[in-house]
Symmetry: C2
Subunit: 312 residues, 2 copies
Amino acid sequence: MDEVLYYAGADIGGTKIKFGLYKKGVCSEGLEAKWDIPTDISDSGSHILGDIAVSLKKVCADRNIDYSLIAGIGIGVPGPADSCGVVKECVNLGWKNVDVRGEFRKISGIPVVMAGNDANVAALGEMWKGSGCGFDNLVMVTLGTGVGGGVIIDGRIHPGSTGAAGEIGHITVNPYETEMCNCKSRGCLEQYSSATGIVRLAKQMMDISGEELDAKTVIDMAKAGDESADRAVDKAMEYLGMALSNIACVTDPQVFIIGGGVSAAGEFLIKKIEKYYNMYSMNTLKNKEFKIAGLGNDAGFYGCIKMVMDNA
Amino acid sequence: MDEVLYYAGADIGGTKIKFGLYKKGVCSEGLEAKWDIPTDISDSGSHILGDIAVSLKKVCADRNIDYSLIAGIGIGVPGPADSCGVVKECVNLGWKNVDVRGEFRKISGIPVVMAGNDANVAALGEMWKGSGCGFDNLVMVTLGTGVGGGVIIDGRIHPGSTGAAGEIGHITVNPYETEMCNCKSRGCLEQYSSATGIVRLAKQMMDISGEELDAKTVIDMAKAGDESADRAVDKAMEYLGMALSNIACVTDPQVFIIGGGVSAAGEFLIKKIEKYYNMYSMNTLKNKEFKIAGLGNDAGFYGCIKMVMDNA
């Protein structure tokens, strides 16, 4: 009989917690189950870790999996997590100074518990099972409501000294911006290249004030040949291309993975990003690979599993 | 008797090769010698590696050091070096596709040979014996004729996938620049914050066209209270502070080390850099440490020694 261990991943989002349970045997391995539960952010998010443990136990019981064979769990959180698994602040969950590793180990009895930032674990997930497969130095960019990022160096998450590495949405791309970013600075990448940013640019460039717009509509209009919509998307991707070129000057990755809701626009965006990336890059850094993320919302729990498997 | 081994560093510059020889025993260790020789760039730089071997042998002979006890040598080059020790192009030396590791091992008989970019080895040197002592995640910026950089992650050089990590002089800080950088792009950090850049800004802001100016003069005038000189230095440091804030969004280092000729201006510059860094940074990344480099031109060979000692 194959000797097996299990590794779990739980990617905590603002509305859902997405789980994956991975079976690792000597002879075979693979994803055993994936599911999700709602995120209960009441009482400063104090029920979240308990809910994760309960859900894991229930799924194991339902499937006749011996819970004690879970060797480790990785937990993704929407905020910076330091290398000891402590989350200083996580606004979306109401968390302040939560020792994810320590608390969850007590609650769950699982021996190895790790915590990572959601964008970082997504990047690791894409490296392991998605578009980043075969690479070990990559940067993933998530274009959603905001712009997130994860930096993978030598096959591992680079969390940085305070867990804030990969916060590329706050790279300054336009020092002349007058509007303020959520972070209180001005001219951040997130102000242009997120879904929100694309809509903001479109409202500046298109004659449609008053109408309800979303990023998908703007991009679809651009794809259909609307010139002012295309100008807005183009500007958003110019700032992104420039930011990626700046990132390349720092870590020189092999590939950039583009994920998040906006990335559904696929090759249309990649072409624009590549064009501006090369325009702003020095010769030795030109012609990197750009790929659309492959795992969608599963990237997070895959990365959580990989993170803990590499360390258990 | 103490059992000792020796590790050498040779930092190849455009005019000089700077050497260090480090003695490592069980009971004691330290720098045994440092010296330099001129760089012979004739015949496409083909004499350089031979000259290094000859000089090392001579110094060993002069000091009664058994040459066969040299366990490794690190070689710093003014260009990108990949992880196999191959230098694709190094304009200042006339090199094209030089296999530094392979060739030097043949010439010298030294078992372990490593090559690294000069800015990267300087960063490692500062971490080991200079202002970066006690840190293992840092970024060093060299403000000289150009702007160079080195990225240290978990105590080691991060060379990047093509050896171009740390090329922070070519981060775009002003997408509206009209003048071209040496790299053929526009608005690179190097166009503002290098010695050359400071003079360029001063010529734009001060009423001194025609006069011969150097960066030291401009900075000294700014220190003495000249308002337009101060505006020029301030602008140069604003762009640098902004670029460092962008770098922090990628790798989140513990400390920034500022080196190179311009850094002689010391605290006067650090204050300006810190001010603008904090102005452009998101909250979680504010208040990093900024330090002036401590080893001057010795940083390179120290880093070469450390690089090879960590891998021999």
